[in-house]
Symmetry: none
């Protein structure tokens, strides 16, 4: 809506590093509407996990002038492939889950995304299926969950509307960042582990927990869920994940000597 | 998205007095999508000024569970009829008009609307045609204009998306006014581990790291410092610290079997 002449030229992709990930979307019209909502807010990196009906004329039609976002969208078979290179993963979610997870509201989400994006990091925001949202397994891959507050009478937002609200708050945070001083320090002495590093660590840990008879896959209780939540909360850096992996390898070497 | 049991019952119309006015809308699907966006945010009073195609099955279809908002919508022939009873009128607009007008951003708009709404006033927010927005004459009937910031590459929001963003900010202002929801996630399902618990854990971990030959006290490098920093960052709860201690005990039992 703005076309001031005296502002600096702006790239199409105002916010590189911000990845919108739509998981198993049923209706291609929602993909198109989400692409338009993204580009309106300066976000252009779209990943589609196993979409039901794509490529689709309906998606291009609803994208209107964001057809380029649709054309450059990356299609992947599963969520791990979508987030493998990302250092911060946020999942959109209802508030109530059996195991509480670190929660953000959309405004805090926008601010967090922009702090990381401005530091050159890759950030993924996951949006689930139209009818069921994200699975618990997908939610457990996230560092944070974000919930869009609603009235009680009707709490289910259209998928593209949710993308609009989240991207709106990301752009707001970007626009206010330029004037504000960053008081919150996301600076760290090491790069953070990626989502792919974390999956390798969880696989290694699970195997080791079984080896030492601490975890019985036949009776999992919620052990692995709690462990995932704990280590995603920690957001280990790469040296820390190497320490953890090294400890597990040392345990493996000891148990391998047992008869 | 929330269904907490112990919050007070809420009327469908959480925000009486807030009137969304859509002017000469061309596509009935946009009316339906706008109705859904409104009801999601607790706003239900919809006025349609001279809609091109209404009533419409497409509007009802896109409204999904907000069909009641469509059914109770008031249809009027011109904007004066729509705003006659309103004490505050705000028009959505691009920023540049020949005659500057008092401008609000969406956040300030939400706060202003809620201040008036809470005082029992009728407020109207006007949304223009899909292709041309509001006329200058319509804009000049407004006390304030509101502009949704966008990226430069694509500045034209879908009509229903604009309704979503404005109603989202209205609900945010309402919720922060009443402090009804806890946006800061201090809620957790378990008490946090005490400093004493943490010291016992660190002692146990150090002993285990030595047992499996991962840590050499004669050559400590900064291993224990890094581990302390990592686990203090995690702030484990009591169940989590029990899981960690249980894993270490299981490792100890295995290594004790070695010669």
């Amino acid at each position: 809506m703005s076309d001031d002449k005296n502002e600096p030229e702006e790239a199409d992709d105002l916010l590189p590093g911000v990845n919108i990930v739509l998981i198993e979307t049923s209706h291609p019209g929602n993909i198109g509407a989400a692409a338009r909502a993204m580009k309106n807010m300066g976000v252009t990196q779209l990943t589609l996990v196993n979409p039901k009906d794509f490529p689709s004329d309906q998606a291009v039609f609803r994208a209107v002038s964001a057809a380029d976002v649709i054309e450059s969208a990356v299609v992947v078979p599963d969520v791990d492939a979508a987030i493998a290179g990302c250092e911060l993963v946020i999942g959109t979610s209802a508030r109530d889950r059996r195991i509480p997870w670190p929660m953000l509201d959309p405004r805090a989400c926008g601010e967090k995304v922009i702090r990381e994006q401005a530091a050159g990091k890759q950030v993924a925001i996951l949006f689930g299926r139209e009818d069921r949202g994200l699975t618990n397994e997908e939610l457990q891959k996230c560092h944070f969950h974000v919930n869009i507050p609603t009235g009680k009478a009707y709490s289910s937002l259209n998928l593209a509307m949710a993308v609009q609200v989240i991207c709106y708050e990301i752009l707001q945070a970007h626009l206010s960042k330029s004037s504000a001083i960053n008081t919150d320090s996301d600076e760290w002495d090491m790069p953070f582990a990626t989502a792919g590093d974390m999956e390798h660590f969880f696989t290694h840990l699970e195997k080791t927990l079984i080896d030492v008879n601490f975890h019985d896959p036949a009776n999992p209780r919620q052990l692995l869920t709690r462990i995932r939540r704990m280590f995603n909360r920690i957001r280990p850096d790469q040296m820390e994940i190497n320490i953890l992996r090294g400890f597990l390898t040392a345990v493996n070497e000891q148990t391998s000597k047992l008869p």
